[in-house]
Every structure is written in C-alpha cells, then in structure tokens.
Amino acid sequence: MGSMNSPLQHYADAFERLPEAARTTHRREALQRLLALGLPTPDLEDWKYTDLAALRELTPGPSDYRTIPEGAPPADADGLDAFNATFAVDGLDVEIAAKADLAEPLLATGTGHRRHRIRVGRHARALLRIELDPDAEFQTAFFDVDLAEGASLQVLRTQDATPDAQLITRIRARLGRDAKLDVSTVDLGGKLGRHDLNVDLAEPGAEVRLRGLFVASGSGLIDNHTRFDHRAPHGTSRELVRGLAHDSGRGVFNGRIVVHPGAQKTDSEQRIANLILSPKAEINAKPELEIYADDVKCAHGATFGQLDLTALFYLRSRGLPEAEARALLTLAFAMEPLRQIPNAAFRNEALKRVATHLRSDLDEAALVS
C-alpha cells in the first residue's frame, strides 16, 4: 500500500499513450478517480466472491477512440466505473423521442470498453440488445439508462463466451413514473463474467423485471449482482433467476432489494433456484432485503436441489435413456425464466442460445417453438 511506486501507475501510463484527441477532460477526470480508487477488491462485500486480481495489470491497447457520453459520475461510482470512463472507446448515446415505438432493437455490441447512455422519452418504447465480445481478454460495458414517465425498455443481454473471455457489464437505470424496465440475461461460458444491474425506482408506479439464467462451466465464474432501490410508493419488482454450475464452475447471484422510507405499497418478489451438477462446482446465492417501510409486500426465496426423481422416473418409464432424461429436465429447468420474455424475437434468441449450449444434440426446433 505505502510503496513509492503506485500499483496503479500503469493506468496513468496507458492513458498517456492514448491518442491526443482521446485524452479529453472527461477521461482525465475519470483517470484521477481510477488512480484514487483502483479496481474493487474481494474485501468489499459486493466483490466477496469475485477477485479481479487477474485484470489489474491489463490496460487497453491502441484503438479508434471516439467520443463517449460524458456526464457526471454517479455518486457511488467505484474504480471500475472510473476505469470504464477512462478507457471506453465508444458507446451509444441515444435519446428516444416521446411516444416513439422502436421495432428494431438498439445494438450494444462490438469490441473494446464501451460506455453507453440511453434516454427513453415519455411513453416511448424501445428494445436494447447487449452482447459483449465473446473472445475479449477483458471488456467492460457500462450503461446509463433513463426511462421517463410511462416509458418502457426491454433488454436482452447474452454472454456466450469462449473459455478465456473476461466480461463485465453494469446497467444503471433510473425509472420515472409508471416506467417499465424488463431485463433478460443469459450467461453461458467465459472465464469471468460479472454483471451488475442497479435500478432506481425513483417515482411512483415504476416496475422492473429480471429473468435470468446463468450456467457456470469449465473453471469459469459468473457473478450477477442486482440492486433495486424502491424510492417511491407503488413500485413493483420481480426477479426470477435460475443458476446452474457444472465442471469446476462457480456461480454467484446476489439480489438486493432496498425499500426506502415512504416507498409504501411496494410489491417485490425474488426467486432464485439453483442446480449444481458436479462435485467440484459451487454456487453462492444471497437474496437480500432491506426494508424501511411497513406497508409492503416483500418475499424472497432461494433453493438448491436436484432434478425431480419422479419426473426422471416418468421419462425413463417412457423409454428415454437416463442421460437424455436428465438433459431434458435440466434444460426445462434452465429455460423456465426465459419462456416469459415478452418480445418474441428476444425470447427465441435466448432459448436458442440455451438449447445450443446445453444440448447441441437435441432437436433445437422442437424445444424453441
């Protein structure tokens, strides 16, 4: 800690190597925050199970730096946010007009660190498709989302990565009155996937839904953290998450619901179900509730278990080999949250990804229909 040569010096050096035009005041300020904070360490409760040590030395190489959305950093921005703001090469900066209805999704893809800003106007509807580079050694993508009164945004984020990919996303959203945010996530493969979803239900009647599936395999780690802040009355939040871990995979799910004083009539439900498929796999789940208002309905549940033996017996009695029967039941378990994705294109895409990943030998079409 007290060494003369700061362990963060390489960030400053990398910054000086950026093209002249990229070294904006905004990026420079972000660098100062990064040098002050560093990347998060496992002694922070939010990073208890995820060690970014392997990423600490990595700095981005030369790239085509474009302008990124500039805005004051959020009050609780950490070193990772500062890192992203320093080295982001590009990002969407979109404002959707009031009452617009976008049929085609906005695409947040591409390589390099990315920083996006998406504003959805009053009563407008939009779709957002997120997929990081499946081969990235280290990629971050940060989203600043704002939904105005009555606006609606559906998000599908998939990670279908190679075994060496290390991917981090963070979506921070503010929901206005009666705004709806619907997020679906599918995390498959990768060495490290860390995905944060922080939602502020800032005004009355806001609603957020998360449907998620993660499959940790190989020696990969998939860590999902959500935080929903109910700050106004009559808010709704739903989380339905399934977790699978096989090989030496590690999965983490941390869902936090905070009901602030005055957020009466909040209705919140969190369901996390997990299946561990190998003796070396591990899943850590924590559904947290923090409640400061009394007239609320909050429930959460977390389960760990095995496939239903009666269902297995049923399938076998109809002639399915055990392996086949197990695969089918596992698939059904995994797909449960994704079946309810409202947008048909998103739903089919998500189910197809899962089917391909989990059961390449089973007839995809039959399962996806």
Binding site: P261, E282, K286, E288, I291, D294, K297, F304
Partner: protein, 494 residues
C-alpha cells in the same frame, strides 16, 4: 513451557505468586487489593486478571496470545448497525463485585420505570432487589431462596456426575477438561470480539456431561450463585460427551441493568457422538431509553461444534434487550448425520438495532439444519437477519430449511434480510424463504370488533407470529417470553 507436566494446587499457587510478582515488576502501579483495574488495555492488564484469578500458566499464555492477536485485528464494520465507536482504552477490563457504596440501598432508590416492568412480569420482591443490584441487607445465602435451591441442585447434579460450576472454578478443579476444550470451538483469534474476550474474559459457566448421562434437570445460570457478577466478558463452555443430553438456559426475562456498555461474550458448545445440547437464551439487557441513550452493546460469539456422528445442537433465543446486538449462534456440523437448529425471536423497539442470525456449516455427510427466525421491528428499531448456510464438498446429502419472517410495526422501523448460501456439493437440498409483513388492519379490526383492546390484539398477533419459536423454549421460559414481548412492545401501537 516447562511447568506443564503437573498442575497440583501447590504448583498453581506457586506459579501465580511468580506471575503477580512479574506483573508488578513490569510497572503495574495499582494496589493489588483494589477492586477494579484502571481503564485501558495492555498485556499487564491481561496478566493482572489472570493473576487475580490464580490461573495456571497455560491459560495466561493463551490470554496473552489472544491479546496480541487482538492488537492486530480491526473492528468489523459489515454489520448493519450504526453506533458510536467503542473506546477500548476507556474500559476497565476487570471489576470485582461492584462496590457496595455505588449500589442502590433499597428498591426506593431504583428507577421506578424498572420497578414497574418487574411488577408487570410478576417478579418477586427479593428477586427484584437482586436484579436491580440493591445492596443485600443480609448475607446473600440467607436471603435468596434460589441459593438454597441452587445448593440442592448441585448435590443432585454431582450424583449424576454432571459438572456445573463457574469457569474460573473449573480451571482449578478440572484443568484437563478446560484445557482440552477451551478455544477448541471459538479459537482465540476467531474474530475481533472473540479475541478481546479470550484475553480478558471475566467468568462464565462450565458444564460437563459425562458419557451416557441425561442431565437430570435444566441447567440455568439463574441458579448459579455468583452469576450476577460474571461481568462483561462472559465465557461459557459446555461439553456433552457421548450419548449425553443437556438443556441449558441463559439469562432471564427481567431487564438487567449493567454499567458496562460493551458486552462481548463467547459461548462454546461441544457435542460428541450422539450427544444433544439444547441452549436457550433470553436476552434482555438494558436497551437504552426511547432516544437510544445508554443501552448495552451486545457483541457475542456463540458457536456449537457437532463433533461426533448423530450429535445435535439446538439454539433458541429470544432477544429483546440491548441497544446494539451482534450475534450469530452457529453450528459446525462435523459429525455425519449431525443436526443443527436455530430458532430465534428478535425484537427491536425505540432506537434498538439488531444484526443477528446464524451460521450452519455442513461438513459431515447427511447433516441437517433448520433455521427459523422471526424479527419484529417497532418504533425506530432496525432488525437484520444475517445467516450463512455453507455446504462443503464432502457434505453428501446435506439438507437445510430456512425461514425468516419479519414483522414491521410502524413506518419508521426497518427489517432486513441477508441470507448467504454457499453450496459446493451437488446433492445438497436447500430452501430459503423470507417474508415481510405488517400487522394487518383487518386482523386488528377483527380483534377490536370483538372487544379486545388494540394493545392486547397486537400482543396476541405478535405471539402468534412467534409461536414456532416459543414452542422450542422450555415451558416456564416460554410463558415468560410471551409476557416479555408484550411489555417490550408497549407503546408501539397507537
């Protein structure tokens, strides 16, 4: 160390004399006869305490190791509580029984509010005096019925082969047992407060149940003569040998006054093959006034070790006191087929804050655990359940069921749940359920329309909410606990 081959009383006394001399040579200035060690924490204080209690060298060494470890540790900050930092140098780490002149001379001098509470709980006058710390007018053993009761009990216990005494006494009478088990469940460096306790623990209970013995009665600290002055760093050790069984009660329902703000107790339970330990607590330390002034900080480490196959440890707690509570009675399920249970009712009212829960560590095969936690928050109270269920890779067939419910009374309080689950075996089956609710207006209306006053209705509903836990308490405790809850909730509604 050279002096460990034999610990005869002469040996011990010899050692102590040397130790005391050593403490003095190290520059300790206080008169050895005085009752209280001056505030501040140092190795000398640790040596002093050990010398006062005429402890053997190994125990002093153990205390010193704990102290040195404590110096390197930092106070944990992760609990969901907010309090003024404790100044560890302003605490006096050893006080012999409080001096007579500081105590109230009679019940007339005691806070009338406290007396009112005693009355509501139906506590006999003599016991009221004892609880309020009134100077006994006559020698203790003449006054209190419980003392004579205690003596008869002791005789009966001795016949069964059960050892039940203070831990300082046990250090001299059963040094081998204490040496073998002390710190074997909660090591001296386990956590910040456990290290502090290990260095300066004042006194506590020691219970040993030999092989195959079913303890003939429920053991209660209440009946132990010198219980009142075990001080702020209590240390309890309970060992149940093969096939034995014991039920232990700690605390009492009457509010206890204490000038020491910081309480850092350690409780260790060891259950060998087929043994069962049931540990029930009613904690009602002074919670501070309506504005949270005063009140005890209760930072406790309680852990049970199901060391043998088919052993069982069951924690039941009713927590209504203390300004800040930080307490996680845990079970290490080491033996195959061992069972851990945790039943808890925690209530926070006014400005009280509680961060409490349990840890179930599944190590052995087919180990099972059950967690039932009921949290009640009223006024400005903040209530957190923090629990951990960890299933290790070799814990084939582990099973856990967790249920934690919160009840909110009023819109200024808070109820929080932080359940950690860390699962590393595919055969584990776990369920965790949590709900948060308030007392329904329709429920209250129903009761009131049938002529039940609002306060009684609330108390009735709360008791229903807690029933699952109360039924685990020994019967007479359960009745008192219900009354206690009603008294603690007074003024919460309306």
């Amino acid at each position: 160390m050279a002096a460990t081959e034999q610990t005869t009383p002469e040996n011990v006394r010899d050692l102590v004399t040397r130790r005391v001399a050593q403490a003095y040579s190290a520059g300790f200035v206080t008169d050895v006869e005085s009752e209280t060690v001056p505030p501040g924490h140092s190795e000398d204080v640790v040596r002093m305490i050990s010398a006062r209690k005429q402890e053997p060298e190994w125990l002093l060494e153990w205390r010193l190791k704990a102290y040195r470890r404590w110096l390197k540790m930092t106070e944990p900050k992760w609990a969901h509580v907010d309090y003024k930092p404790v100044d560890y140098q302003s605490i006096s780490y050893f006080s012999a029984p409080k001096s007579m002149k500081d105590r109230p001379k009679s019940l007339d001098e005691v806070d009338p509010k406290l007396l009112e509470t005693y009355k509501k709980l139906g506590i006999p006058l003599k016991e009221q005096e004892m609880l309020a710390g009134v100077v006994p007018q006559v020698a203790v053993d003449v006054v209190f019925d419980s003392v004579s009761v205690g003596t008869t009990f002791r005789k009966k216990l001795a016949e069964a082969g059960v050892i039940f005494c203070s831990i300082s006494e046990a250090v001299h009478s059963h040094p081998d047992l204490v040496k073998k088990y002390l710190g074997s469940v909660v090591p001296f460096g386990d956590n910040y407060f456990a290290a502090l306790n290990s260095a300066v623990f004042s006194d506590g209970s020691f219970v040993f149940i030999p092989k195959g013995v079913r303890c003939p009665m429920e053991l209660s600290t209440y009946f132990r003569i010198n219980e009142r002055n075990t001080g702020q760093f209590e240390r309890t050790l309970i060992v149940a040998e093969e096939r034995s069984h014991v039920s232990y009660l700690e605390g009492c329902t009457a509010p206890q006054r204490d000038e020491n703000q910081l309480h850092a107790a350690v409780v260790e339970l060891v259950a060998l093959d087929d043994a069962q330990i049931k540990y029930s607590t009613v904690q009602n330390w002074y919670p501070g006034d309506e504005n949270g002034v005063g009140g005890i900080y209760n930072f406790v480490t309680k852990r049970g070790d199901c060391r043998g196959p088919r052993s069982k440890i069951s924690w039941t707690q009713v927590e209504t006191g203390s300004a800040i509570t930080w307490k996680y009675p845990s079970c290490i399920l080491r033996g195959d087929d061992s069972v851990g249970e945790f039943y808890s009712v925690a209530l926070t009212h006014h400005r009280q804050q509680a961060d409490t829960g349990t840890k179930m560590i599944h190590v052995g095969k087919r180990t099972r655990s059950t967690i039932v936690s009921k949290g009640i928050a009223a006024g400005h109270g903040q209530q957190s359940y923090r629990g951990l269920v960890r299933v290790l890779p070799l814990a084939e067939g582990a099973r856990n069921h967790t249920q934690c419910d919160s009840l909110l009374i009023g819109d200024q309080c808070g109820a929080h749940t932080f359940p950690y689950t860390e699962i590393r075996n595919p055969s584990a089956i776990l369920e965790h359920e949590a709900t948060t609710s308030k007392i329904g207006e329709d429920q209250l209306f129903y009761c009131r329309s049938r002529g039940i006053p609002e306060e009684d209705a609330v108390s009735m509903i709360v008791n229903g909410f807690c029933k699952q836990v109360f039924k685990e308490l020994p019967m007479e405790f359960a009745v008192e606990a219900q009354k206690l809850l009603a008294v603690s909730l007074e003024g919460a509604v309306g």
